[in-house]
């Protein structure tokens, strides 16, 4: 199929891109040139000290990121239990496979060029530097195995993320500077190469803890059992005001509450509210126009991430939905309401944050919100008809690695979603004022709102023609 080939090429381009990025950033960091502000004045004088100061945070972020994104091997163990292989071999096989995860490889791709650059530029001792590298990579692998254990205990990661935010805040307001301690700890791995034994020892310990953990938990009723939460009925009575839509919206709210994958997607969508800040702080590099790009995500994050997976959220019971007394228009309208609700909340959250930076940003946020409401919401739903990836509601892994979710048609649709408003802004603000540029985007969105009926007709038609292939795609087991 053309689609899957495209997805494969896309995935490989992604891998090559990130590898090159890791290597490139490693080199640049090694020279001490600031990425955000590449002026000579901002050059970091001692990159090696700088990295040691920041490593503590790097590892902390790594652990949280791994928790969210990295697949763990437990699921695959089940099928191997009945094969004529020794249990310990099965476990080691599954655990060792994580050694080649992108997270570990990227760290190495970054560290090696970094070390080579700092070595060539400064007066560091090569042997000591090698030992330092071994220590750091050992710690990277400790986080790798920690992740496997942490995955079984959700609350731990939230505590961890909370502490991380607290540390950052304390440092931001100058209460405590953790970089000082970070520097002392990690520089000592360079100064005293013998200390490499500590991370190596810890690594061995975590590795064997993971193995032992599985060794004794390797029965489907203990370690491999999926935790079952006690169920409680949720009626979400406030949704009744949505009339006919209420019954569908209620289920979507239950979905978000009860499915890990849906919950994380929704949270991620809300997290996007802050996305605009990146473009705001880095305006010198990206320029003003890219602000619009950021603000579209700030207000539409939930709509893009969550509604982008309509109808995949219903993939596990799509045949049921198709046989019930449900009109397409009601079904799609309820999803559209949900998306609009998301845009509304995100805009509401974002406007005070960005209004802090000035009236222009406030107007830009509102206008981007309107554009999302009036145009992007339809386009996202429409794209959904072509996104035939099955969503496993019960596991949150694979949330990013779903290559099927990228197909040429959905990718093409990002042009009107993202490129058009940015270009409109660029052109209008060039000839008039930036503010007018925002209004132009807002007007486009407002006009879109009035075209709901004919647009929905078109979307429904697409859903109908795609129905059979969607059904058969959802039937496929991965």
């Amino acid at each position: 199929m053309g689609g899957s080939l495209f997805a494969k090429i896309f995935a490989w381009i992604g891998i090559v891109y990130f590898t090159l990025m890791a290597i490139g950033i490693g080199f640049i960091h090694g020279t001490g040139i600031s990425l955000l502000n590449p002026d000579a004045d901002n050059k970091i004088e001692f990159p090696f000290e700088w990295i040691n100061e920041n490593l503590i945070y790097a590892f902390a972020y790594w652990i949280v990121l791994r928790y969210i994104l990295q697949k763990i091997p437990i699921v695959n163990i089940r099928q191997l239990l009945l094969t004529p292989m020794k249990k310990s071999k099965v476990i080691r096989f599954a655990v060792n496979r994580t050694n080649f995860s992108t997270f570990n490889l990227m760290s190495i791709f970054y560290l090696v060029p970094f070390s080579l650059t700092v070595y060539s530029m400064g007066d560091l001792d090569s042997n000591k530097l090698i030992f330092w590298n071994v220590s750091i990579i050992a710690i990277v692998y400790i986080t790798n195995y920690l992740n496997i254990i942490l995955n079984k205990r959700d609350s731990l990661v939230f505590i961890f993320a909370g502490v991380l935010i607290l540390f950052r805040a304390l440092e931001y307001w100058d209460f405590l500077d953790f970089t000082v301690y970070s520097k002392i700890i990690f520089t000592s791995f360079y100064n005293q190469p013998i200390l490499v034994l500590i991370p190596i020892g810890l690594l061995a310990y975590t590795y064997y803890s993971v193995i032992r953990y599985f060794r004794f938990g390797l029965y489907i009723d203990t370690g491999l059992q999926v935790k079952v939460a006690e169920a409680r009925q949720d009626d979400f009575k406030f949704l009744n005001r949505f009339g006919d839509m209420a019954k569908f919206l209620r289920n979507d709210f239950r979905l978000i509450k009860r499915s890990k994958r849906a919950r994380n997607t929704a949270l991620m969508g809300i997290g996007f509210v802050l996305y605009g800040l990146i473009f705001l702080w880095a305006q010198d590099i990206y320029g003003e126009t890219m602000l619009i790009f950021g603000y579209l995500f700030s207000t539409g994050g939930f709509m893009f991430t969550f509604c982008g997976l309509v109808p995949s959220w219903d993939s596990q019971h799509y045949s049921f939905m198709m046989c019930q007394n449900i009109k397409y228009i009601d079904y799609l309208k309820s999803k559209w309401y949900l998306g609009c609700l998301g845009i509304g909340i995100a805009t509401l959250l974002a406007s005070p944050i960005y209004a802090y930076f000035g009236l222009f940003h406030f107007v830009a946020i509102i206008c981007c919100g309107v554009y999302n409401l009036g145009l992007n919401s339809y386009l996202t739903l429409w794209a959904g008809a072509f996104t035939k990836s099955k969503v496993d509601l019960d596991s949150m892994k694979n949330a990013m690695g779903d290559s099927k979710a990228f197909n040429s048609k959905t990718l093409l649709l990002t042009i009107p979603q993202m490129v058009v408003p940015v270009v409109v802004y660029l052109v209008v603000s060039k000839f008039f004022t930036p503010m007018t540029g925002c209004f132009a985007i807002g007007i486009l969105g407002a006009v879109g709102v009035f075209f709901r009926k004919p647009v929905f007709k078109l979307i429904i038609q697409t859903y109908k023609t795609e129905k059979y292939s969607t059904l058969s795609a959802y039937k496929e087991t991965n």
Partner: protein
């Protein structure tokens, strides 16, 4: 009346279903038997417009299932676990189906009292989502939900498989009672010849997508069918 006109389904040269003509009268208890891959599920799927047939059309009470959605208001089905919404509790699922079929909460509650025996205290008032129920209990939920809201056409694919003996007997009773109603058409498929002969008054035998036998049930139907399958 349900009419299959010249329905066939071909996947890359392999024909899995080829039914020239099949008519099912209202009120009939229709049984479908056959080995794996005989085309039973495919036939039901074309009736529910879940599969696009390669040729022909299906009429459900004169409504072409592919061009109109009106048949959905009087037709219900349980084919497999993709008819369940795993993250709902059984009650929530029943109420949702009730809402879709214009049944109030109260009506659903009343309706469910008839199934207390079948549920055996394992379904209602529990603290589990459907995804955490056992396979057998999931099936019970799906089948009972398919009966909510007085549907006129009920399609059940392999309803007896995976159920314990007590439940099988109770379910057979329920299906027999349903098909006593004159305007309700029940379509059931099964591997088990005895189950299917017990609940149906007409039996169609499918083999490699073709109708081999189409018989009205008599006392010797079961023998007939058994001898057909032992012959091979």
């Amino acid at each position: 009346m349900i009419k299959f006109n010249n329905i066939s389904k071909t996947y890359s040269k392999q024909t899995v279903l080829d039914v020239e003509s099949l008519e099912i009268q209202p009120g009939q208890a229709f049984g479908l038997v056959g080995n794996n891959g005989a085309g039973k599920t495919t036939l039901f799927s074309t009736l529910l417009d879940l599969i696009k047939p390669s040729t022909g059309e299906v009429l459900n009470n004169d409504i072409n299932v592919r061009t109109s959605e009106d048949w959905k208001s009087f037709t219900s089905a349980f084919l497999d676990e993709s008819f369940l919404i795993g993250y709902l509790m059984p009650e929530e699922y029943f109420y949702f189906v009730g809402e879709l079929r214009n049944f109030s909460k109260k009506q659903v509650d009343d309706f469910l009292t008839d199934f207390e025996d079948l549920f055996n205290n394992e379904i209602l008032g529990g603290k589990k989502y459907i995804r955490d129920l056992s396979k057998g209990n999931q099936k019970k939920v799906g089948i009972v939900a398919a009966l909510i809201g007085d549907p006129k056409v009920i399609v059940l694919d392999e309803p007896f498989a995976n159920l314990d003996p007590t439940t099988q007997i109770r379910l057979k009773k329920i299906i027999k009672n349903l098909s006593k109603k004159e305007d309700v058409t029940v379509l059931v498929s099964s591997h088990d010849l005895q189950d299917v002969t017990e609940v149906s008054d007409r039996i169609v035998l499918l083999e490699k997508g073709l109708i081999i036998k189409d018989i009205k049930k008599t006392t010797k139907t079961l023998k007939d069918l058994e001898s057909y399958f032992t012959k091979e």
